[in-house]
Symmetry: C2
Subunit: 265 residues, 2 copies
DNA sequence: CGCATCGTTGAGTGAGCTCAATGCATGTGG
DNA sequence: CCACATGCATTGAGCTCACTCAACGATGCG
């Protein structure tokens, strides 16, 4: 296993002129359908039978609505009642917890096609908060509908289990990272994971724009923002990266991967 | 949330003379039944309807067998095909990953009544290995049977989802610990969590015997075995603990809790 | 324009790491 | 039963990586 470590961090990268929320608005009036969605290969439907996807599409649109988010808006807060699972349509989110001293601990980043909110199933309340790191759009999927669907379809039932299990595995990898890697290894793992996820979505694997601050990266990786910044500079001096604020170009992915040769077996 | 952080670590503590595996052997010949099990309140059946438990009991015993383990034996290896979920009947286990350099990363500890192996659902292979830290006994529950049961019972379906989600939440807390706590806070959190879990099983919350080495604790908490040892000594000097090798007595649980006042909200 | 946010860099410090020695308990074989 | 080996825990000494505190520039927003 090659460190799924960071199946979580993310940043949707679009170099094409960004659509403004206004430009995208008209589309929202039509009923969203999984079967038409450009993310159906990556998102929830990828593990569902076409008949189940159609059943999902057939559900009341009020209960399965798109929701437009502005940067810095919070989709749900920790402790809030858990009702929906959210699929990211566009934009980037962070999941985080607030510690007693006011500091926040970022537990994951989510990009287009990824699901958020499954941690709420355990208690019926969200265990973390989800905040948009840029203007974004999500599909709100009522969890009750999903379980209803699952009741009649072992395929969908398995899908939900697999998605949750994947989350468990992802977090195990992150624990590994936090427990046994130094600053350079952590940042390298983060960037390579991000790169991989972007590539799967058709974006460039070697050049992208980070949507999160140094502080957020640091919180996620268990280091301070200063150390993140210094490590970026170090990578640049080693000619592994070109860094211009949040714009990243990976020059030597292999050397970067070599920075964290922590592989199993 | 009061740091579920360590819903994982553990150590079943029995001061009563330990039964030898031989002494327990005869019991194994009878068909194990959840409905009789002394752990039914804690284990899988706690979230199931009695009719579902009976259906679980009705399944072929060959497919739902107890398995006796010797200390240091491995129940399953990472990468191995995922077929069973295991419930710990007695003894303690660790889950771990092996890093490229040969070091092991412990990702959780499991005590009686706890489930292991759900990380295998994602890929169909176990993502981690499970090793007995002492002589132990598990129930092997075929995952296929569980999903079959779930197909006909939304209650069991929800239970599986809840168990997985709980695992996600647990790991999030651990990430929080690894990302933002110092050595004393980590060890305090570990001990208090362990204490809580033991108490739930009827053991003393204030005095127990660790089944894992300092190195294993260190791996789990992201620190070296020397630091674990020094931190135990420091707690002892602060009169928070009495430590004699693996025997622990918590003298001042409140002060210990104060050592990691990292609570949400 | 002024203020806030973000990122970079420097200097000094310290928590936890590495390396090493020692003690204790247990197991094994002569 | 003793000699020896092995595994685990403790403790010390020194070092280093990442932290804290601080200053400063760039960017963007009201």
């Amino acid at each position: 296993m090659s460190l799924a470590v960071l199946e979580a961090p993310a940043a949707p990268i679009r170099f094409a002129p960004r659509q403004t929320p206004e430009a995208m608005a008209p589309a929202a009036s039509s009923k969203p359908r999984c079967s038409n969605c450009h993310l159906r290969e990556l998102c929830l439907p990828s593990g569902m039978s076409s008949s189940d996807v159609m059943r999902l599409d057939g559900l009341d649109s009020l209960m399965f609505a798109r929701r437009r988010m502005r940067s810095a808006q919070t989709l749900y807060h920790e402790g809030e009642r858990f009702q929906f699972v959210y699929a990211v349509r566009s934009g980037t989110f962070k999941s985080s917890l607030t510690l007693a001293d006011g500091r926040e601990q970022v537990s994951s980043f989510h990009i287009a096609g990824e699901l958020m909110g499954l941690d709420g199933v355990a208690q019926g309340n969200h265990a973390s908060s989800a905040t948009a790191l840029e203007d974004a759009e999500v599909c709100a999927i009522p969890y009750a509908h999903l379980t209803e669907l699952a009741a009649g379809s072992s395929g969908t039932q398995h899908l939900i289990s697999r998605l949750m299990s994947r989350e468990i595995v992802r977090e195990q990898s992150l624990m590994m990272l936090l427990g046994s890697m130094n600053a350079e290894e952590r940042l390298a793992a983060f960037l390579l994971n991000l790169s991989k996820r972007l590539k799967a979505r058709g974006y460039s694997a070697s050049e992208f724009h980070l949507r999160m601050t140094r502080a957020e990266i640091g919180s996620y990786l268990g280091m301070t923002l200063e150390t993140v910044s210094r490590t970026f500079s170090a990578f640049q001096q080693q000619r592994l990266l070109e860094v211009d604020k949040r714009h990243i170009r990976i020059l030597d992915p292999d050397a970067l991967a070599g920075a964290f040769e922590i592989r199993v077996h």
